[in-house]
Symmetry: C2
Subunit: 296 residues, 2 copies
Amino acid sequence: MNIEDYLERKRLEVDEFLESHIPSLHTSPSTLHESIRYSLFAGGKRIRSILTIAAAEAIAPPPKALLPVASSFELIHTYSLIHDDLPAMDNDDYRRGKLTNHKIFGEAIAILAGDALQAMAFEFCSRPDFVNGLDPQCQIRVINELALGSGTQGMVGGQVLDIQAESREVDLAGLKTIHAHKTGQLIRAAVRVGALLSGSSNTQLERLTGYAEDVGLAFQIADDLLNVTGTPEELGKGTKTDADRGKKTYPSFYGLEESQALAQDCVDRAISRLAGFDEKADPLREIAQYIVSRRK
Amino acid sequence: MNIEDYLERKRLEVDEFLESHIPSLHTSPSTLHESIRYSLFAGGKRIRSILTIAAAEAIAPPPKALLPVASSFELIHTYSLIHDDLPAMDNDDYRRGKLTNHKIFGEAIAILAGDALQAMAFEFCSRPDFVNGLDPQCQIRVINELALGSGTQGMVGGQVLDIQAESREVDLAGLKTIHAHKTGQLIRAAVRVGALLSGSSNTQLERLTGYAEDVGLAFQIADDLLNVTGTPEELGKGTKTDADRGKKTYPSFYGLEESQALAQDCVDRAISRLAGFDEKADPLREIAQYIVSRRK
């Protein structure tokens, strides 16, 4: 299989779904929807949604609810980017080659757009027309995974640890905890939700959870590396910002070469977790590899 | 019945539930949980949760899931207060007689505490041990109501309209739309969710929805009035701030006396919606009356 084609095809599916179900620019309050759409359609890779889709497809033909549920992870991810970029947080002016949300719409609307996106994620997972036909018990588990992956023990908790690390000494264990929460927990939830939607067995769910944890770590190490080795043109945002802020990262502990090797170890481990899966899990295998080879 | 006793008893139930289920101050990241607890236990009246409880009890003995679900409305309400108070929004220094969240914890943590509280609300509505025994179909509807009441067509949408109104001419219809969204939709959802939890019929649900809309408007007019007539000691925050900001309110359109009469009209209408309910709906009747007579 060609992973680039696969990723592009799935990205389009997610984008089309979002495009037709996010309130239009003419829906009141229009500024809010403009702000939401500005950041949501800024060219994201939709990697979290694709992981949900690929995890579901690794097990069985997925239900109709797959796309709404998978898309909800992009709503959470986008809200977190808008809030992370705020002056009170990372104070970033550019994201994906465009001005950040608050630079265009102001801080108040940026905060509210993030808030609304989070609510919308849970709306997507509970809208009768979206999740029709899905076992309600399964649906509740899906919503619970999404909530846990986003909250104090997930993404938001990791973001707090990350902010605190800027003014504290962080050792390698601390760095791993930050990574496991800030990006890891939402990726973990995305994969688990895919598995649940396809009616995975407990063993399958456990294996895919292991895969997700390894892939999440690889993803974050790769992000740390790109911050050092990428160009602003490739990334669409400032580079070497971690070093400027004195942020501890994998390269700052291990250097570039060893960090690359560690990321590859994670990928290999992730792929080995899929040993019991047939060729339907090939996209998951290829995505793991793609995550460390991408240039943006 | 003595409504003050009822409100106090139910407030304690909600507070106890929250106290024992919100992560402790020692849970990592401790600053985040400290910030969450600071605002969540700042002496709120828990009126949204109590509306959920009273609506449920108006119909039938409610299920075990009532308290977690009712409490989730306070999580949403508290997050909205933390975000509303931010410098980029209303820039308030005091709330309920205490410094606002960002004055103590900084803006970054205040934003993240709000974000985490929203996720926690949906976690509360989907936690297996909290909602055990509830019909999953009903649970999904509950989550959907909570998401819609909070999102772009609910509370957040209203907040955007409210901000925009500070720099635009707003007529009475515009003011009504702001109120209906900013506070109305979440109160509406709180009541509807209570009804759904007790297995309301469609007619009962519709009547209670009408009750909630009237009560929500009465609540907001009363808030507008308190901003003019209350003292900082009673309210625990600055007064006459609406006029200072040039905000359009009911008193600015109608004057004090007529606004009071309008609020009372809403209450009377709300109570008349409950004509088909027996004495189990007395707390709802009394709450409607309380809302316009309260001094804070």
